[in-house]
Protein backbone atom coordinates (compact mmCIF):
# COMPACT_ATOMS: atom_id res chain seq x y z
CA UNK A 1 0.00 0.00 0.00
CA UNK A 2 2.76 2.41 0.96
CA UNK A 3 4.68 1.65 -2.26
CA UNK A 4 1.49 2.12 -4.25
CA UNK A 5 1.00 5.57 -2.73
CA UNK A 6 4.65 6.47 -3.25
CA UNK A 7 4.29 5.70 -6.95
CA UNK A 8 2.02 8.68 -7.61
CA UNK A 9 2.39 11.02 -4.63
CA UNK A 10 5.40 13.37 -4.76
CA UNK A 11 6.61 13.89 -1.17
CA UNK A 12 7.32 11.45 1.69
CA UNK A 13 5.30 13.22 4.40
CA UNK A 14 2.31 13.36 2.04
CA UNK A 15 2.48 9.58 1.64
CA UNK A 16 2.47 9.13 5.41
CA UNK A 17 -0.42 11.57 5.72
CA UNK A 18 -2.57 9.84 3.11
CA UNK A 19 -1.60 6.43 4.50
CA UNK A 20 -2.70 7.37 8.00
CA UNK A 21 -5.89 9.14 6.96
CA UNK A 22 -7.46 6.20 5.07
CA UNK A 23 -9.21 4.73 8.17
CA UNK A 24 -10.55 8.21 9.00
CA UNK A 25 -12.18 8.42 5.58
CA UNK A 26 -13.66 4.97 6.07
CA UNK A 27 -15.00 5.93 9.51
CA UNK A 28 -16.54 9.20 8.32
CA UNK A 29 -18.33 7.64 5.36
CA UNK A 30 -19.35 4.65 7.47
CA UNK A 31 -20.72 6.89 10.27
CA UNK A 32 -22.91 8.84 7.84
CA UNK A 33 -24.17 5.60 6.34
CA UNK A 34 -24.57 3.78 9.66
CA UNK A 35 -26.66 6.50 11.31
CA UNK A 36 -29.01 6.44 8.32
CA UNK A 37 -29.04 2.65 8.41
CA UNK A 38 -29.81 2.64 12.13
CA UNK A 39 -32.85 4.84 11.48
CA UNK A 40 -34.00 2.63 8.64
CA UNK A 41 -33.49 -0.55 10.70
CA UNK A 42 -35.32 1.01 13.64
CA UNK A 43 -38.12 2.12 11.34
CA UNK A 44 -38.61 -1.20 9.64
CA UNK A 45 -38.45 -3.18 12.88
CA UNK A 46 -41.17 -0.93 14.32
CA UNK A 47 -43.24 -1.27 11.14
CA UNK A 48 -42.61 2.27 9.90
CA UNK A 49 -40.52 3.51 7.00
CA UNK A 50 -37.93 5.70 8.71
CA UNK A 51 -36.52 8.74 6.87
CA UNK A 52 -37.95 8.79 3.34
CA UNK A 53 -37.77 12.33 1.91
CA UNK A 54 -34.30 13.89 2.17
CA UNK A 55 -32.25 13.28 -0.95
CA UNK A 56 -34.75 11.22 -2.83
CA UNK A 57 -34.06 7.49 -2.66
CA UNK A 58 -35.20 6.28 0.78
CA UNK A 59 -33.90 9.43 2.44
CA UNK A 60 -30.27 8.51 1.92
CA UNK A 61 -28.93 12.01 2.66
CA UNK A 62 -30.80 12.47 5.96
CA UNK A 63 -27.57 12.23 8.00
CA UNK A 64 -25.80 14.74 5.74
CA UNK A 65 -28.65 17.20 6.34
CA UNK A 66 -28.36 16.56 10.08
CA UNK A 67 -24.62 17.16 9.91
CA UNK A 68 -25.12 20.51 8.19
CA UNK A 69 -27.64 21.45 10.86
CA UNK A 70 -25.20 20.43 13.60
CA UNK A 71 -22.36 22.53 12.18
CA UNK A 72 -24.61 25.60 12.14
CA UNK A 73 -25.50 25.24 15.82
CA UNK A 74 -24.16 27.55 18.49
CA UNK A 75 -21.23 26.20 20.49
CA UNK A 76 -22.60 26.31 24.03
CA UNK A 77 -20.42 25.86 27.10
CA UNK A 78 -22.29 25.91 30.43
CA UNK A 79 -21.33 28.88 32.63
CA UNK A 80 -20.12 26.76 35.54
CA UNK A 81 -18.38 24.13 33.42
CA UNK A 82 -14.64 23.59 33.39
CA UNK A 83 -14.15 25.18 29.97
CA UNK A 84 -10.88 23.56 28.96
CA UNK A 85 -11.80 20.00 29.92
CA UNK A 86 -15.31 20.42 28.53
CA UNK A 87 -13.93 21.41 25.14
CA UNK A 88 -11.15 18.81 25.14
CA UNK A 89 -13.18 15.72 26.09
CA UNK A 90 -14.86 14.95 22.71
CA UNK A 91 -11.55 15.21 20.88
CA UNK A 92 -9.76 12.89 23.29
CA UNK A 93 -12.64 10.44 23.01
CA UNK A 94 -12.41 10.33 19.24
CA UNK A 95 -8.60 10.24 19.28
CA UNK A 96 -8.65 7.22 21.61
CA UNK A 97 -11.13 5.45 19.37
CA UNK A 98 -9.34 6.34 16.14
CA UNK A 99 -5.90 5.39 17.46
CA UNK A 100 -7.12 1.83 17.84
CA UNK A 101 -7.71 1.50 14.07
CA UNK A 102 -3.92 1.51 13.60
CA UNK A 103 -3.66 -2.19 14.36
CA UNK A 104 -6.69 -3.32 12.30
CA UNK A 105 -5.77 -5.13 9.05
CA UNK A 106 -8.29 -3.71 6.56
CA UNK A 107 -6.99 -5.93 3.76
CA UNK A 108 -3.93 -8.01 2.99
CA UNK A 109 -2.38 -4.82 1.60
CA UNK A 110 -3.35 -2.32 4.25
CA UNK A 111 -2.63 -2.22 7.96
CA UNK A 112 -1.64 0.94 9.79
CA UNK A 113 1.19 -0.61 11.74
CA UNK A 114 2.47 -4.18 12.02
CA UNK A 115 3.22 -3.88 15.76
CA UNK A 116 3.70 -7.19 17.54
CA UNK A 117 1.29 -6.35 20.34
CA UNK A 118 -1.62 -5.62 17.92
CA UNK A 119 -4.81 -6.68 19.67
CA UNK A 120 -3.36 -5.92 23.09
CA UNK A 121 -2.67 -2.36 21.94
CA UNK A 122 -6.29 -2.00 20.79
CA UNK A 123 -7.55 -3.09 24.20
CA UNK A 124 -5.19 -0.67 25.93
CA UNK A 125 -5.86 2.40 23.84
CA UNK A 126 -9.65 2.03 23.93
CA UNK A 127 -9.51 2.01 27.73
CA UNK A 128 -8.61 5.70 27.48
CA UNK A 129 -12.14 6.25 26.19
CA UNK A 130 -13.55 5.93 29.70
CA UNK A 131 -11.11 8.57 30.96
CA UNK A 132 -12.38 11.01 28.34
CA UNK A 133 -15.99 10.20 29.19
CA UNK A 134 -15.30 10.89 32.87
CA UNK A 135 -13.68 14.16 31.79
CA UNK A 136 -16.80 15.10 29.85
CA UNK A 137 -19.15 14.15 32.66
CA UNK A 138 -17.19 15.93 35.34
CA UNK A 139 -16.43 19.06 33.33
CA UNK A 140 -20.12 19.58 32.45
CA UNK A 141 -20.86 20.27 36.12
CA UNK A 142 -24.23 18.58 35.85
CA UNK A 143 -25.58 15.78 38.03
CA UNK A 144 -26.91 13.75 35.11
CA UNK A 145 -23.61 14.01 33.27
CA UNK A 146 -21.65 12.97 36.34
CA UNK A 147 -23.92 9.99 37.03
CA UNK A 148 -23.72 8.93 33.40
CA UNK A 149 -19.93 9.21 33.43
CA UNK A 150 -19.68 7.18 36.63
CA UNK A 151 -21.87 4.46 35.17
CA UNK A 152 -19.81 4.41 32.00
CA UNK A 153 -16.59 4.07 33.93
CA UNK A 154 -17.93 1.24 36.07
CA UNK A 155 -19.37 -0.53 33.06
CA UNK A 156 -16.29 -0.19 30.86
CA UNK A 157 -13.87 -1.29 33.58
CA UNK A 158 -16.05 -4.31 34.44
CA UNK A 159 -16.70 -5.46 30.88
CA UNK A 160 -13.06 -5.09 29.94
CA UNK A 161 -12.39 -8.27 31.92
CA UNK A 162 -14.58 -10.70 29.87
CA UNK A 163 -13.50 -8.99 26.62
CA UNK A 164 -9.82 -9.44 27.41
CA UNK A 165 -10.28 -13.02 28.61
CA UNK A 166 -12.18 -14.04 25.45
CA UNK A 167 -9.56 -12.34 23.28
CA UNK A 168 -6.92 -14.22 25.29
CA UNK A 169 -8.62 -17.53 24.56
CA UNK A 170 -8.43 -16.76 20.82
CA UNK A 171 -4.79 -15.77 21.21
CA UNK A 172 -4.07 -19.18 22.76
CA UNK A 173 -5.17 -20.76 19.47
CA UNK A 174 -3.38 -18.33 17.15
CA UNK A 175 -0.20 -17.91 19.16
CA UNK A 176 0.30 -14.35 17.97
CA UNK A 177 -1.04 -10.94 18.99
CA UNK A 178 -0.53 -9.38 15.57
CA UNK A 179 -3.93 -9.20 13.86
CA UNK A 180 -2.38 -9.47 10.39
CA UNK A 181 -0.81 -12.81 11.32
CA UNK A 182 -4.07 -13.90 12.97
CA UNK A 183 -5.88 -13.25 9.68
CA UNK A 184 -3.22 -14.95 7.58
CA UNK A 185 -3.66 -18.07 9.73
CA UNK A 186 -7.31 -18.26 8.70
CA UNK A 187 -6.65 -18.30 4.95
CA UNK A 188 -7.81 -21.34 3.01
CA UNK A 189 -10.68 -23.75 2.92
CA UNK A 190 -9.32 -26.77 4.75
CA UNK A 191 -11.93 -27.42 7.40
CA UNK A 192 -14.32 -30.26 6.41
CA UNK A 193 -13.59 -29.50 2.76
CA UNK A 194 -16.11 -26.68 2.33
CA UNK A 195 -16.11 -24.51 5.47
CA UNK A 196 -13.56 -21.70 5.43
CA UNK A 197 -10.62 -22.03 7.78
CA UNK A 198 -12.01 -19.42 10.17
CA UNK A 199 -11.36 -19.56 13.88
CA UNK A 200 -15.05 -19.79 14.77
CA UNK A 201 -15.14 -23.24 13.12
CA UNK A 202 -11.98 -24.24 14.96
CA UNK A 203 -13.69 -25.80 17.96
CA UNK A 204 -17.13 -25.65 19.61
CA UNK A 205 -15.68 -23.52 22.40
CA UNK A 206 -14.78 -20.82 19.89
CA UNK A 207 -18.51 -20.32 19.24
CA UNK A 208 -19.01 -19.78 22.96
CA UNK A 209 -16.02 -17.44 22.97
CA UNK A 210 -17.57 -15.43 20.14
CA UNK A 211 -20.93 -15.12 21.91
CA UNK A 212 -19.20 -13.95 25.10
CA UNK A 213 -17.04 -11.53 23.11
CA UNK A 214 -20.06 -10.13 21.30
CA UNK A 215 -22.04 -9.56 24.52
CA UNK A 216 -19.04 -7.89 26.16
CA UNK A 217 -18.41 -5.75 23.08
CA UNK A 218 -22.04 -4.57 23.13
CA UNK A 219 -21.39 -3.34 26.64
CA UNK A 220 -18.05 -1.79 25.67
CA UNK A 221 -19.71 0.11 22.83
CA UNK A 222 -22.56 1.19 25.16
CA UNK A 223 -25.23 -0.33 22.94
CA UNK A 224 -28.66 -1.53 24.02
CA UNK A 225 -29.23 -3.58 26.22
CA UNK A 226 -26.21 -2.06 27.96
CA UNK A 227 -26.72 1.62 27.06
CA UNK A 228 -26.96 2.75 30.69
CA UNK A 229 -24.46 5.61 30.29
CA UNK A 230 -26.96 7.54 28.21
CA UNK A 231 -30.29 5.94 29.06
CA UNK A 232 -32.66 8.72 28.04
CA UNK A 233 -35.50 7.80 30.37
CA UNK A 234 -33.48 8.11 33.58
CA UNK A 235 -30.39 10.18 32.83
CA UNK A 236 -31.58 12.54 30.03
CA UNK A 237 -28.42 12.04 27.99
CA UNK A 238 -25.79 10.77 30.38
CA UNK A 239 -22.36 12.29 29.98
CA UNK A 240 -23.39 14.13 26.80
CA UNK A 241 -26.32 16.01 28.37
CA UNK A 242 -24.64 19.43 28.19
CA UNK A 243 -23.07 18.94 24.78
CA UNK A 244 -24.55 20.36 21.61
CA UNK A 245 -23.59 21.01 18.02
CA UNK A 246 -20.42 19.53 16.63
CA UNK A 247 -18.99 18.49 20.02
CA UNK A 248 -22.01 16.27 20.54
CA UNK A 249 -21.53 15.11 16.96
CA UNK A 250 -18.00 14.04 17.82
CA UNK A 251 -19.31 11.91 20.68
CA UNK A 252 -21.80 10.37 18.26
CA UNK A 253 -19.00 9.71 15.78
CA UNK A 254 -16.90 8.13 18.54
CA UNK A 255 -19.76 5.85 19.49
CA UNK A 256 -20.23 4.65 15.90
CA UNK A 257 -16.46 4.34 15.36
CA UNK A 258 -16.30 2.22 18.51
CA UNK A 259 -19.05 -0.05 17.18
CA UNK A 260 -17.17 -0.51 13.92
CA UNK A 261 -13.89 -1.09 15.75
CA UNK A 262 -15.29 -3.83 17.96
CA UNK A 263 -17.10 -5.42 15.01
CA UNK A 264 -13.91 -5.41 12.94
CA UNK A 265 -11.98 -6.94 15.84
CA UNK A 266 -14.67 -9.60 16.13
CA UNK A 267 -14.56 -10.21 12.37
CA UNK A 268 -10.77 -10.52 12.45
CA UNK A 269 -10.61 -12.81 15.46
CA UNK A 270 -13.48 -15.14 14.57
CA UNK A 271 -14.55 -14.69 10.94
CA UNK A 272 -11.30 -14.63 9.01
CA UNK A 273 -10.85 -10.88 8.62
CA UNK A 274 -10.15 -10.01 5.00
CA UNK A 275 -10.30 -13.63 3.85
CA UNK A 276 -12.94 -14.45 1.27
CA UNK A 277 -15.53 -17.02 2.41
CA UNK A 278 -15.10 -18.83 -0.95
CA UNK A 279 -11.45 -19.84 -0.67
CA UNK A 280 -9.38 -18.19 -3.39
CA UNK A 281 -12.48 -16.97 -5.27
CA UNK A 282 -12.88 -13.15 -5.06
CA UNK A 283 -9.62 -12.89 -3.17
CA UNK A 284 -6.95 -10.17 -3.22
CA UNK A 285 -6.19 -6.85 -1.51
CA UNK A 286 -9.22 -4.93 -2.88
CA UNK A 287 -11.71 -7.76 -2.36
CA UNK A 288 -10.07 -8.21 1.07
CA UNK A 289 -11.08 -4.70 2.10
CA UNK A 290 -14.59 -5.43 0.80
CA UNK A 291 -14.93 -8.66 2.81
CA UNK A 292 -13.48 -7.09 5.95
CA UNK A 293 -15.87 -4.15 5.86
CA UNK A 294 -18.80 -6.40 4.91
CA UNK A 295 -18.16 -8.68 7.89
CA UNK A 296 -17.81 -5.65 10.14
CA UNK A 297 -21.04 -4.14 8.82
CA UNK A 298 -22.94 -7.40 9.36
CA UNK A 299 -21.91 -7.39 13.02
CA UNK A 300 -22.84 -3.68 13.25
CA UNK A 301 -26.24 -4.55 11.78
CA UNK A 302 -26.74 -7.24 14.43
CA UNK A 303 -25.97 -4.62 17.10
CA UNK A 304 -28.63 -2.32 15.61
CA UNK A 305 -31.10 -5.19 15.39
CA UNK A 306 -30.58 -6.06 19.07
CA UNK A 307 -31.32 -2.47 20.01
CA UNK A 308 -34.95 -2.90 19.00
CA UNK A 309 -35.24 -6.44 20.34
CA UNK A 310 -34.04 -6.31 23.94
CA UNK A 311 -35.05 -4.06 26.84
CA UNK A 312 -32.40 -2.16 28.78
CA UNK A 313 -30.89 -3.79 31.87
CA UNK A 314 -30.88 -2.16 35.30
CA UNK A 315 -27.53 -1.14 36.81
CA UNK A 316 -27.42 -4.02 39.28
CA UNK A 317 -28.47 -6.50 36.58
CA UNK A 318 -25.72 -5.14 34.37
CA UNK A 319 -23.10 -5.79 37.04
CA UNK A 320 -24.60 -9.21 37.81
CA UNK A 321 -24.41 -10.25 34.15
CA UNK A 322 -20.78 -9.25 34.01
CA UNK A 323 -19.36 -10.47 37.32
CA UNK A 324 -21.58 -13.50 37.97
CA UNK A 325 -22.00 -14.92 34.46
CA UNK A 326 -19.70 -13.51 31.81
CA UNK A 327 -16.43 -13.53 33.77
CA UNK A 328 -16.74 -17.08 35.19
CA UNK A 329 -17.97 -18.40 31.82
CA UNK A 330 -15.12 -16.75 29.94
CA UNK A 331 -12.54 -18.15 32.36
CA UNK A 332 -13.99 -21.68 32.10
CA UNK A 333 -14.04 -21.28 28.33
CA UNK A 334 -10.40 -20.15 28.39
CA UNK A 335 -9.39 -23.32 30.24
CA UNK A 336 -11.45 -25.52 27.89
CA UNK A 337 -9.90 -23.93 24.79
CA UNK A 338 -6.44 -24.39 26.29
CA UNK A 339 -7.25 -28.08 26.94
CA UNK A 340 -8.58 -28.50 23.38
CA UNK A 341 -5.33 -27.03 22.08
CA UNK A 342 -3.31 -29.42 24.25
CA UNK A 343 -5.23 -32.54 23.17
CA UNK A 344 -5.70 -31.88 19.42
Amino acid sequence: MQQFLESFLPAGPLVVFVFSIIPLMIILVYALFAIWLERKVAGHIQDRLGPMHTGGWHGWSQTIADLVKMIQKEDIVPAKADRFLFKMAPFIAFAASYAAFVAIPFSSGYIGSMIDVGIFYIVAITSLLSVSIIMAGWASNNKWSLLGAMRTAAQTVSYEVPTVVTILSVIIVTGTLNLMEVTEMQTGNAFLGFLPNWLIFHSPFMVIAFVLFFIASLAEAHRVPFDLPESESELVGGYQTEYSGMRWGLFMLTEYADMLLLSLVGATLFFGGWNSPFGSFMDGPVWGAFWMLLKGMILVFVMMWLRWTLPRLRVDQLMNVCWKYLIPLSFVNLVLIALWEMIF
Binding site: D82, L85, I115, D116, V117, F120, Y121, V123, A124, I125, S127, L128, S130, V131, I134, M135, W138, L146, M150, A153, A154, T156, V157, E160, L177
Partner: protein, 172 residues
Protein backbone atom coordinates in the same frame (compact mmCIF):
# COMPACT_ATOMS: atom_id res chain seq x y z
CA UNK B 1 13.66 12.04 14.41
CA UNK B 2 13.70 9.87 17.54
CA UNK B 3 15.44 12.61 19.45
CA UNK B 4 12.70 15.09 18.66
CA UNK B 5 9.99 12.62 19.63
CA UNK B 6 11.86 11.91 22.86
CA UNK B 7 12.12 15.64 23.61
CA UNK B 8 8.38 16.00 22.94
CA UNK B 9 7.41 13.14 25.25
CA UNK B 10 9.93 14.14 27.93
CA UNK B 11 8.71 17.75 27.97
CA UNK B 12 5.10 16.57 28.09
CA UNK B 13 5.86 14.20 30.96
CA UNK B 14 7.69 16.83 33.00
CA UNK B 15 5.11 19.53 32.27
CA UNK B 16 2.27 17.18 33.21
CA UNK B 17 4.05 16.22 36.43
CA UNK B 18 4.50 19.89 37.34
CA UNK B 19 0.87 20.55 36.44
CA UNK B 20 -0.25 17.65 38.60
CA UNK B 21 1.52 19.05 41.65
CA UNK B 22 0.60 22.68 41.15
CA UNK B 23 -3.04 22.49 40.09
CA UNK B 24 -5.46 23.27 42.92
CA UNK B 25 -8.22 21.05 41.64
CA UNK B 26 -7.85 17.35 42.45
CA UNK B 27 -9.62 16.10 39.31
CA UNK B 28 -7.33 18.25 37.15
CA UNK B 29 -4.36 16.79 39.02
CA UNK B 30 -5.56 13.26 38.25
CA UNK B 31 -6.00 14.10 34.56
CA UNK B 32 -2.50 15.58 34.47
CA UNK B 33 -1.29 12.29 35.93
CA UNK B 34 -2.97 10.45 33.04
CA UNK B 35 -1.10 12.69 30.58
CA UNK B 36 2.15 12.05 32.43
CA UNK B 37 1.66 8.26 32.40
CA UNK B 38 0.85 8.23 28.69
CA UNK B 39 3.92 10.32 27.84
CA UNK B 40 6.04 7.87 29.83
CA UNK B 41 4.42 5.08 27.77
CA UNK B 42 5.61 6.93 24.66
CA UNK B 43 9.16 6.97 26.04
CA UNK B 44 8.90 3.20 26.66
CA UNK B 45 7.93 2.80 22.99
CA UNK B 46 11.05 4.73 21.95
CA UNK B 47 13.06 2.25 24.02
CA UNK B 48 11.45 -0.60 21.98
CA UNK B 49 9.62 -1.88 25.05
CA UNK B 50 6.25 -2.37 23.35
CA UNK B 51 4.76 -4.63 25.97
CA UNK B 52 5.68 -2.29 28.81
CA UNK B 53 4.24 0.70 26.93
CA UNK B 54 0.91 -1.04 26.31
CA UNK B 55 0.73 -2.26 29.92
CA UNK B 56 1.45 1.29 31.09
CA UNK B 57 -1.49 2.64 29.08
CA UNK B 58 -3.83 -0.25 29.90
CA UNK B 59 -3.23 -0.58 33.63
CA UNK B 60 -2.21 2.90 34.74
CA UNK B 61 -3.69 5.15 32.07
CA UNK B 62 -6.96 3.23 31.84
CA UNK B 63 -8.04 1.14 34.79
CA UNK B 64 -6.23 2.65 37.77
CA UNK B 65 -6.85 6.24 36.75
CA UNK B 66 -10.56 5.54 36.31
CA UNK B 67 -10.65 4.22 39.86
CA UNK B 68 -8.67 7.25 41.06
CA UNK B 69 -11.12 9.61 39.41
CA UNK B 70 -14.02 7.63 40.86
CA UNK B 71 -12.71 8.00 44.39
CA UNK B 72 -11.86 11.68 43.94
CA UNK B 73 -15.31 12.47 42.60
CA UNK B 74 -17.07 10.49 45.33
CA UNK B 75 -15.06 12.23 48.06
CA UNK B 76 -16.16 15.56 46.57
CA UNK B 77 -13.06 17.42 47.70
CA UNK B 78 -13.02 21.17 47.53
CA UNK B 79 -10.15 23.04 45.90
CA UNK B 80 -6.99 23.18 47.94
CA UNK B 81 -6.32 26.34 49.86
CA UNK B 82 -3.57 28.75 49.06
CA UNK B 83 -0.29 27.81 50.70
CA UNK B 84 0.77 29.88 53.65
CA UNK B 85 2.78 32.80 52.43
CA UNK B 86 4.22 33.58 55.85
CA UNK B 87 7.99 33.63 55.79
CA UNK B 88 9.79 31.15 58.00
CA UNK B 89 13.32 29.82 58.28
CA UNK B 90 12.18 26.35 57.24
CA UNK B 91 10.84 27.57 53.90
CA UNK B 92 14.02 29.56 53.25
CA UNK B 93 16.23 26.53 53.91
CA UNK B 94 13.99 24.32 51.80
CA UNK B 95 14.09 26.78 48.93
CA UNK B 96 17.88 27.00 49.17
CA UNK B 97 18.28 23.20 49.12
CA UNK B 98 15.87 22.97 46.19
CA UNK B 99 17.93 25.45 44.19
CA UNK B 100 21.08 23.40 44.87
CA UNK B 101 19.46 20.14 43.73
CA UNK B 102 17.99 21.80 40.64
CA UNK B 103 21.34 23.31 39.63
CA UNK B 104 23.07 19.94 40.07
CA UNK B 105 20.43 18.27 37.92
CA UNK B 106 20.71 20.94 35.25
CA UNK B 107 24.50 20.60 35.31
CA UNK B 108 24.29 16.83 34.77
CA UNK B 109 21.72 17.24 32.00
CA UNK B 110 23.80 19.91 30.28
CA UNK B 111 26.94 17.75 30.36
CA UNK B 112 25.18 15.11 28.21
CA UNK B 113 25.09 16.44 24.69
CA UNK B 114 24.30 15.04 21.28
CA UNK B 115 21.57 12.63 20.27
CA UNK B 116 20.11 9.74 22.20
CA UNK B 117 22.30 6.68 22.66
CA UNK B 118 21.55 3.94 20.17
CA UNK B 119 19.66 0.93 21.50
CA UNK B 120 21.66 -2.26 21.47
CA UNK B 121 20.20 -4.83 19.03
CA UNK B 122 20.03 -7.42 21.81
CA UNK B 123 18.01 -4.98 23.87
CA UNK B 124 15.41 -4.61 21.13
CA UNK B 125 14.31 -8.20 21.62
CA UNK B 126 13.88 -7.82 25.38
CA UNK B 127 10.75 -5.68 25.23
CA UNK B 128 8.64 -7.99 23.08
CA UNK B 129 5.77 -10.12 24.38
CA UNK B 130 7.59 -13.37 23.53
CA UNK B 131 10.64 -12.57 25.63
CA UNK B 132 8.66 -11.36 28.62
CA UNK B 133 6.29 -14.35 28.47
CA UNK B 134 9.23 -16.71 28.16
CA UNK B 135 10.95 -15.15 31.16
CA UNK B 136 7.78 -15.10 33.28
CA UNK B 137 6.55 -18.63 32.58
CA UNK B 138 9.84 -20.49 32.20
CA UNK B 139 12.45 -18.88 34.42
CA UNK B 140 10.31 -17.16 37.06
CA UNK B 141 7.39 -19.60 37.16
CA UNK B 142 7.35 -20.00 40.96
CA UNK B 143 7.39 -16.26 41.78
CA UNK B 144 4.56 -15.73 39.26
CA UNK B 145 2.46 -18.42 40.91
CA UNK B 146 3.16 -17.06 44.38
CA UNK B 147 2.18 -13.57 43.23
CA UNK B 148 -1.01 -14.94 41.69
CA UNK B 149 -1.99 -16.63 44.96
CA UNK B 150 -1.18 -13.45 46.87
CA UNK B 151 -3.34 -11.36 44.55
CA UNK B 152 -6.24 -13.83 44.79
CA UNK B 153 -6.00 -13.71 48.56
CA UNK B 154 -6.06 -9.91 48.43
CA UNK B 155 -9.15 -9.94 46.20
CA UNK B 156 -10.95 -12.36 48.53
CA UNK B 157 -9.98 -10.20 51.50
CA UNK B 158 -11.27 -7.05 49.80
CA UNK B 159 -14.57 -8.77 49.00
CA UNK B 160 -14.92 -9.91 52.61
CA UNK B 161 -14.30 -6.40 53.93
CA UNK B 162 -16.74 -4.84 51.48
CA UNK B 163 -19.44 -7.39 52.29
CA UNK B 164 -19.12 -6.92 56.04
CA UNK B 165 -19.73 -3.21 55.72
CA UNK B 166 -22.94 -3.60 53.76
CA UNK B 167 -24.86 -6.48 55.29
CA UNK B 168 -23.07 -7.18 58.56
CA UNK B 169 -23.71 -10.91 58.10
CA UNK B 170 -20.10 -12.00 57.95
CA UNK B 171 -19.23 -10.28 61.18
CA UNK B 172 -21.52 -12.39 63.38
Amino acid sequence: METYIFILFATLAVAAAVGMITSRNTVNSALFLVLNLISVAGIFLLLKAQFLAVIQVLVYGGAIMVLFLFVIMLLNLSDEEQMLSKFSVRYAVGFFLGVIVLSQLLYVIASVTGTLPRIHPEMEAVGTVETIGDALFNIYMLPVLVTAILLTAAVVGALLLAQRNISGKVNK
